[in-house]
């Protein structure tokens, strides 16, 4: 079982966490076309690579971001939303 580092609670086994999907930017609903909006709602990236993902530590109720190489299943770093520098 994998270990995941919660930015608040440290290294914990994966069963304490819930995957929250990829971190994605919502297009401005006032500006987006129907097609752009549907693409945001329904389509997900499938190709392997480095992804920013939402993870939730169930026991403490902590949302955070994990950067994960899902081709290698390696977690590169984790941080609270907004604490990752730049866009995260």
């Amino acid at each position: 079982m994998k270990l995941l580092r919660c930015p608040i609670n440290g290294l914990r086994p994966l069963q304490e966490f819930l995957f929250g999907g990829e971190l994605r930017d919502m297009p401005d609903p006032a500006v987006a076309t129907d097609r752009q909006w549907a693409d945001y709602v329904f389509n997900r990236q499938g190709e392997p690579g480095i992804r920013k993902e939402w993870w939730y530590h169930l026991a403490s109720g902590t949302w955070f971001i994990a950067e994960r190489d899902n081709a290698k299943d390696v977690i590169l770093r984790t941080y609270l939303y907004g604490a990752g520098g730049q866009d995260a």
């Binding site: 994998k2 270990l3 086994p13 929250g20 609903p29 909006w37 549907a38 709602v41 109720g61 949302w63």
Partner: protein, 975 residues
């Protein structure tokens, strides 16, 4: 005493002071404590230990190390126990599995003659036609397939589970593993060494005659490791599965240990591999190491007269071991063109053992009834390695010991994410890359000489310590792999007629693999599944390497191009008892649980919670109880525990703005002291939850959610609050608040007796929220109408719940108050046409379909799902939720309609029933269903298909069915 028992051996595992009697196949034998079933039988010259899976051929010892499953026995309710490693128990009675009428006279032995009619993959091709005969053949084959018998009356056994932690887990207690553990421990690491064998030492326990270093090293290594207080050696423990981040399932006889290591040294060694030739499966054809185990561990002479088939020095050492044990070694048949040179060759010639270099065993000649062998047919090999059977000759013998090479025991390493690559020089797989924190040592690493294995182990132990930051000096250099390979590149001399086996578990022959490739299953993973090689209980430990060589050659490819099947947990089959266990899923009970039990509640699960479905204190029937509860609410007053609802407090300056974004409705304009229905959608506009929002103060809201969605709604709210960067606090008070709903025309009268607060309609109008003290407990009163009557939700801190409940019951007793359960509540709300999210909605339902468009306020700047709903609003509906009544008086037909029954129109599915109930107050069976929009007009006929296929007529009806003007719940007068 047994005929084949040798005098005391220096490192034997048997206790000669303790003699045991046991039964095998109905006959009584004796053995010593410490014997395995196999070794005790071998000491008596019993060679036939089991029958093979498909052909029911007699089988005997092959590896004597649990690497094959020739000898599986049943002992009472324990089935498929491996006799090779099963320690003898006094008085036990064992039977071979997979026989029809006993091992000796197995009636299914005739199957061996029908091999030609059971070709590879036969069950995909034969017995399927004519179709009507297939059930007959299927039953026959099911009776033949499978091993062992399950006793349903077997006593229930609880197996404990344990979590454990260490710095370095060493898998394998052979020379490299022990050296690794000692080295890591000396750097300060807490090391745990596990080994599946009964005693640590690995191959040093049995492969020792004339070996370099020899005996003292074994004892020495063990003493060194055992003397470290931070080394924990656990024999009899299998690393059954290796998972990500050094998480390893350790299985011993008693328990499953979930080991979380910080690093792992894989010192799992290698499996000796068999050769393939005619009748190579018969009892008497064994691995050289099995012969050595018999001699050194159990003091049993394996044969009277034997042939050693060798392709490496280990075979010569085995021959000397055999000779030392009093076996006449008739010949060493060496597959190598040049044979053995050096000290070992000299020693063998001094022992007057004949050597046939560049020869192969072509076939074993069976003894009567295939119960053993009586000779080996040996033939020379041409320069290109092909056999020349015309020059074959027989050597009389009762045993053939094979020493043709090794395959790394890479299962645990590969399970952990390690990758192997083929080494042409070594003719085996060697590690290519290891995951972080995992280190490899010894034979698994392609290192064979004893001194080198110890050095390699030390290096791996230090590397693990360095990985953990416990060792900083430079690591010793990598140990070089040997120049000469101990592995023959193709120890396969198939016989044209006699069966030549590759996989003994599944009776897969050489020709089966060749046919698999010819039939197009030419990739290794495909051939594995088609021919079933490597799919038996031993998972190809002795089969994969040869199978891969055969498949490679049949494809005209190299082994490196062919690859090997992927290794998955478990390394050995694990008894299900170790895997089964208690569930750790939480079950939540409200503070009123005891009250419900006292009132005769029948409980049902609701999410994590237990809720009363209905109350039957005198054993009332379900329907009767539900009907009475519902009538009590309609005519007088009822009481329901709603403490399972999700309860959240949203606090802060942005609280109203936050709720406006989360829910489809408007809350910024909600006055303090009022509450409102709230509907939540996901980003695609699908309904995910509903509840109520009550405003306690400008910056403070009290929100309820459905029971099952409370955790996910809270979680998503947390995330949205982070993303939107709103100044809001979300407190999940689901567990800290209890709640009851007192509903019915008399509810106000009862409530008024328990509180100082003014309960008049003017003071608490419909959809108002007030603070009050009820029965001495601080409470939030909310006037609601879910069940369609005058009613109040009373939310109190959990500790006050029983006081409030008891007070209500006492005060209501003269008025006939009744607790009601979830079922009555479902019926009451159905009479009102109120939707239950997740019962009347599914994973695709939008508010327009569920007739909840009124709850969507699209004139807000933003809410979750709003943009999607805007798109959906422009599209035609594909279905609509409608009320219906059954248009039949036939009671059986009325009772046949259930939730999820389909609405059929023109022979096609046109909808689905989501709710159904028999309303006493209406005298009708009513329900909700999705139908096509064109069928949704009130009065339209519907046809519902029930379980037995009959059609029950129904009519679309207006909702609410009961009190269409909602006068009862909103009423402003007192009654």
């Amino acid at each position: 005493m047994s005929l084949r028992r040798l005098p005391e051996q220096p490192r034997e595992w048997i206790d000669r002071g303790q003699s045991l009697r046991f039964d095998f196949e109905g006959r009584s034998y004796d053995g010593f404590a410490g014997d395995t079933l196999t070794s005790a039988l071998a000491a008596h010259g019993v060679h036939v230990l089991g029958r093979s899976f498909k052909y029911h051929r007699p089988r005997g010892i092959c590896s004597l190390a649990n690497h094959d499953v020739n000898a599986l026995v049943q002992n009472g309710s324990n089935t498929n126990v491996r006799a090779d490693v099963l320690e003898l128990a006094a008085g036990a009675s064992y039977r071979a599995v997979n026989t029809f009428g006993g091992l000796a006279r197995d009636r299914a032995r005739l199957l061996d003659r029908f091999g030609a009619f059971l070709p590879v993959g036969f069950y995909y091709k034969t017995f399927h036609r004519p179709r009507r005969w297939f059930p007959f053949f299927e039953r026959r084959m099911r009776a033949l397939a499978g091993l062992g018998a399950i006793r349903p009356d077997a006593p229930r056994r609880r197996t404990p589970k344990r979590y454990d932690f260490c710095d370095v887990l060493v898998i394998g207690a052979g020379p490299s593993g022990l050296a690794a553990a000692t080295a890591a421990a000396d750097c300060g690491a807490k090391a745990v060494v596990v080994d599946e064998q009964r005693r640590p030492g690995g191959s040093l326990n049995y492969q020792c005659v004339a070996g370099p270093g020899s005996e003292n090293d074994a004892a020495d290594l063990l003493r060194q490791a055992a003397s470290r207080s931070n080394v924990d050696i656990r024999p009899d423990t299998v690393a059954a599965g290796c998972y990500a981040d050094c998480f390893v399932a350790l299985v011993d006889a008693k328990r499953l240990t979930k080991m979380r290591a910080r690093s792992i040294v894989m010192a799992t060694g290698a499996f000796e591999q068999p050769a393939v030739f005619g009748n190579n499966d018969l009892p008497g054809v064994i691995l050289a190491t099995a012969a050595q185990r018999l001699i050194h561990l159990f003091a049993v002479r394996p044969f009277d007269r034997c042939v050693v088939l060798a392709a490496n020095s280990d075979g010569y050492r085995a021959a000397l071991d055999l000779a030392g044990a009093g076996v006449r070694v008739a010949a060493i048949v060496d597959l190598r063109p040049d044979g053995e040179t050096g000290a070992l060759a000299d020693e063998v010639s001094r022992a007057k053992i004949r050597t046939c270099v560049s020869h192969a065993v072509y076939q074993a000649i069976p003894a009567a009834g295939l119960r053993g062998i009586r000779a080996a047919v040996v033939c020379p090999l041409a320069a290109d390695g092909t056999p020349e059977p015309q020059q074959a000759f027989d050597i009389a013998c009762d045993g053939i010991a094979m020493s043709v090479g090794w395959a790394p025991a890479d299962g645990p390493f590969c399970q952990a994410g390690g990758r192997m690559q083929w080494s042409d020089a070594l003719q085996q797989f060697v590690p290519r890359s290891a995951p972080e924190g995992i280190f490899v040592a010894g034979r698994l690493n392609g290192i064979y000489a004893l001194d080198d294995r110890i050095l390699d182990g030390r290096r791996a132990g230090l590397a693990a310590a360095a990985f953990l930051g416990l060792h900083s000096a430079p690591l010793p250099p990598e140990v070089a792999r040997p120049a000469a390979s101990p592995n023959h590149p193709y120890p396969i001399v198939p016989h044209p007629h006699a069966k030549s086996f590759v996989d003994l578990d599944e009776d897969v022959q050489y020709k089966d693999l060749v046919h698999s490739v010819q039939e197009g299953f030419d990739q290794v993973e495909l051939a594995k599944r088609y021919s079933t090689f490597g799919m038996g209980p031993s998972q190809g430990k002795l089969a994969n390497t040869n199978a891969m060589r055969i498949i490679a050659r049949a494809n005209g490819k190299t082994v490196a191009e062919t690859g090997v099947p992927r290794s998955r947990p478990f390394f050995h089959p694990v008894p299900l008892a170790h895997l089964a266990g208690r569930g750790f899923h939480p079950q939540r009970r409200t503070p009123l649980h005891e009250r419900h039990v006292q009132a005769g509640a029948v409980f049902m699960p609701a999410g994590d919670w237990l809720r009363p479905a209905y109350y039957a204190p005198e054993g009332e029937r379900r329907a009767q109880a539900i009907r009475a509860e519902a009538l009590a609410v309609r005519s007088a007053v009822g009481l329901i525990d709603i403490g399972t609802l999700g309860k959240l407090e949203i606090i802060g300056p942005d609280a109203a703005a936050f709720l406006e974004r989360v829910y489809t409705g408007k809350f910024a304009n909600l006055p303090v002291g009022a509450m409102r229905y709230a509907l939540a959608c996901d980003e695609s506009g699908v309904i995910i939850d509903d509840g109520t929002v009550a405003r306690l103060a400008d910056d403070r809201f009290y929100v309820t959610t459905t029971t099952t969605a409370s955790a996910s709604v809270y979680r998503e709210m947390q995330r949205w609050a982070i993303i939107w960067k709103l100044n809001v606090t979300i407190a999940n008070v689901t567990g800290s608040f209890a709640g009851v709903n007192v509903a019915g025309p008399l509810s106000r009268r009862i409530l008024q007796t328990l509180t100082d607060a003014d309960c008049s309609a003017g003071a608490i109008p419909y959809q108002a929220v007030r603070s009050a003290t009820v029965a001495g407990v601080t409470a939030r009163l909310m006037r609601v109408g879910f069940v369609g009557e005058l009613g109040y939700e009373i939310h109190v801190p959990a500790y006050g719940a029983r006081r409030v409940w008891d007070a209500l019951v006492d005060a209501g007793r003269p008025h006939g108050i009744r607790p009601f359960g979830v079922e009555a509540q479902r019926l009451l709300r159905l009479e009102k046409g109120h939707v239950i999210v997740s019962q009347d909605t599914d994973g695709l339902t939008n508010p327009f379909e569920a007739q909840l468009a009124w709850a969507v306020k699209s004139d807000k700047p933003f809410f979750v799902g709003g943009r999607s709903l805007e798109i959906l609003k422009r599209k035609p509906l594909s279905r609509k939720l409608v009320g219906f009544t059954l248009a039949t008086e036939d009671l059986r037909e009325r009772e046949a309609v259930q939730e999820c029954h389909l609405i059929i129109a023109g022979g096609h599915i046109a909808g689905r029933v989501t709710s159904i109930g028999c309303s006493a107050v209406l005298g009708q069976t009513i329900g909700l269903a999705y139908v096509r929009p064109e069928m949704a007009a009130v009065g339209s006929p519907l046809s519902i298909r029930v379980d037995d296929g009959r059609m029950v007529p129904a009519t679309v009806a207006r909702t609410p069915f009961y009190d269409p003007k909602n006068e009862r719940q909103t009423l402003a007068y007192c009654c």
